[in-house]
Amino acid sequence: MTWSEVFELLEVGLQETAWMVLVSTLLTLVGGLLVGVLLVLTDKGGLLPLRPLNAVLGLIVNVGRSLPFIILLVAVIPFTRAIVGTTIGTDAAIVPLTIGAIPFFARIVESALREVPADVVAAATAMGATRTQIVGKVLLRESLPGLVAGLTITVIALVGYSAMAGVVGGGGLGDLAIRYGYQRFETDMMIATVVALIVFVQLVQMVGDLLVRRLSHR
């Protein structure tokens, strides 16, 4: 295998990984924020205490968190087929990636929101703010640096998950590493994917850190 062949494959693999990670991150962002905010609001002593909903959400998140991703990947195959129409390819991989990452990110959102001091929330309540204002302008805004840091962790976890998704035909860098590096003993390919993954993760972390530093005024 020549280096130019390696780079050609690598380019495709990178694009596929980037796509899977990007789409599943966006979906996870929405889903995780929603679930995380609801977990905080519906808790006892929260702004909208609803014990049954809180218990159900907590249970679902815990189930999602306790399944190893590789198992989840296989377990949701019927669901993936129902939604995407196929179980192979990057688009199909996005489904388990999102399902796996939402509980993960939701817990991060929950703990970031809980970091907002209770007296700051009380101050907003005392001013006569609505619950929507408190969620948007106090809870989410105040925990933004924590949320961005948490999202960075989630994106990096998704890069890892996406490599696993490659095993079951998801494509991307993981797929390359398995097919060429592992199964065909193409050491050059293996090294190239490893380097590409490291660079990718480093970049994500750098951008994340930069954003957090910009946003944080504590």
Partner: protein, 366 residues
């Protein structure tokens, strides 16, 4: 302006129940500055948090500006809260917003248009002396500056009532003084009604028109400062005017006060003290006398214009008695200027009848 009756609040946990507020009645008139003193855990914060329903009382009513807040629905309560400013002990500022942004938040809540918000924020920051720090973040401010932001924010929506929980307890004496001066100024200029919590006697001395002492969820003493000064055995009066007695030459303070005869003199009208603050009825005096071997111990409390008069010197001159001052202090209060001394006159009470009579005539009773 604030009427509280039969207020009770119990915190329950699985193991035990803590009665934080145990039947408090309280009335704060418009433009009054009411101070609540008490030790840690007495229930002061809980009481304050019940006033704007941050805590739901278990029993009792809380009426602010004519509305019983315990009966309001969520939406109406929100509107009512917009008319009640609150200063928090630990500032409770939004760390993600600048000084200006924090003040603007209170206006966003009330739906004030953007342009108006900007002018009002500038005006408020000027008022609390933070005009130059408008773009700083709370993390870049000192404790006193943060508290000023808290005050500006509490006043943003032009509340009629201000609740303050230990606004100055985290601050040094000078910063405390400047914050107290600001509160007093706002109270005078805007007619703001203030209910404040403190553990510092200075705060009560400097700005309160009325005060209460809270212990184990109850008010053990309460009233206007002038009434409290007249009340025999008032702990608050005693703490406001420490006689500063050491072991030497003093009988136990409580004995003197307890044995003492106390009576009120008709209030005398006083134009104003040196702060230029007008006072309704000053000149109240109180004293207590008791016999000791060969000496008569007299406690005198003088307020209003009398506090500045050389009463003790006059006493010595007119009666030729060797007055010994065992202890005493003169204080400038928010409403009046007052002094309290313990004197020792040679001879028994009968020997000093004329002198005591003189004191009584001068606005002090014995």
């Amino acid at each position: 302006m604030i009427e509280i009756s039969g207020l009770r609040k119990t915190y329950r946990s699985r193991k035990r129940a803590v009665v934080a507020v145990d039947g408090v009645d309280l009335s704060v008139g418009e433009g009054e500055v009411y101070g609540v003193l008490g030790q840690s855990g007495a229930g002061k914060s809980t009481l304050l948090r019940c006033v704007n329903m941050l805590e739901r009382p278990d029993e009792g009513t809380v009426t602010v500006d004519g509305r019983d807040l315990t009966k309001l629905r969520r939406g109406d309560l929100r509107i009512a809260r917009q008319g009640i400013g609150m200063i928090h002990q630990h500032f409770a500022l939004l760390s993600s917003r600048t000084v200006a942004g924090n003040v603007a938040f209170a206006l966003e809540v009330t739906g004030t248009p953007r342009a108006e918000r900007r002018t009002r924020v500038a005006e408020l920051l000027e008022l609390v002396g933070l005009g130059e720090r408008a773009d700083a973040y709370p993390a870049q401010l000192s404790g006193g500056q943060k508290q000023r932001v808290g005050i500006a924010r509490a006043l943003a929506a032009r509340p009629k009532v201000l609740l303050s929980d230990e606004a100055t307890s985290a601050l040094d004496p000078e910063t405390t003084e400047s914050i107290l001066r600001l509160l007093l100024d706002l109270n005078k200029r805007l007619g703001l009604t203030v209910l404040l919590i403190t553990h510092e006697m200075t705060v009560v001395k400097r700005i309160c028109t009325s005060a209460a002492v809270m212990r184990d969820g109850r008010f053990v003493e309460s009233g206007t400062i002038t009434d409290l000064l007249k009340r025999p055995g008032s702990e608050l009066a005693r703490d406001l005017f420490p006689l500063g007695l050491r072991d030497t030459g003093g009988t136990p303070e409580t004995a003197a006060v307890g044995d003492g005869v106390a009576a009120d003199k008709d209030g005398r009208s006083v134009a104003g003290d040196k702060d230029g603050r007008s006072v309704a009825g000053g000149g109240d005096g109180r004293s207590a006398a008791s016999d000791r071997t060969g000496e008569t111990i007299v406690d005198i409390t003088v307020s209003g214009a009398d506090a500045d008069e050389p009463i003790i010197a006059d006493l010595a001159r007119q009666f030729g008695v060797d007055v010994r001052i065992l202890g005493g202090s003169v204080e400038t209060l928010a409403t009046t200027r007052a002094g309290r001394w313990r004197l020792a006159l040679p001879g028994t009470r009968d020997d000093n009848a004329a002198a005591l009579d003189y004191l009584r005539k001068r606005g002090v009773t014995a």
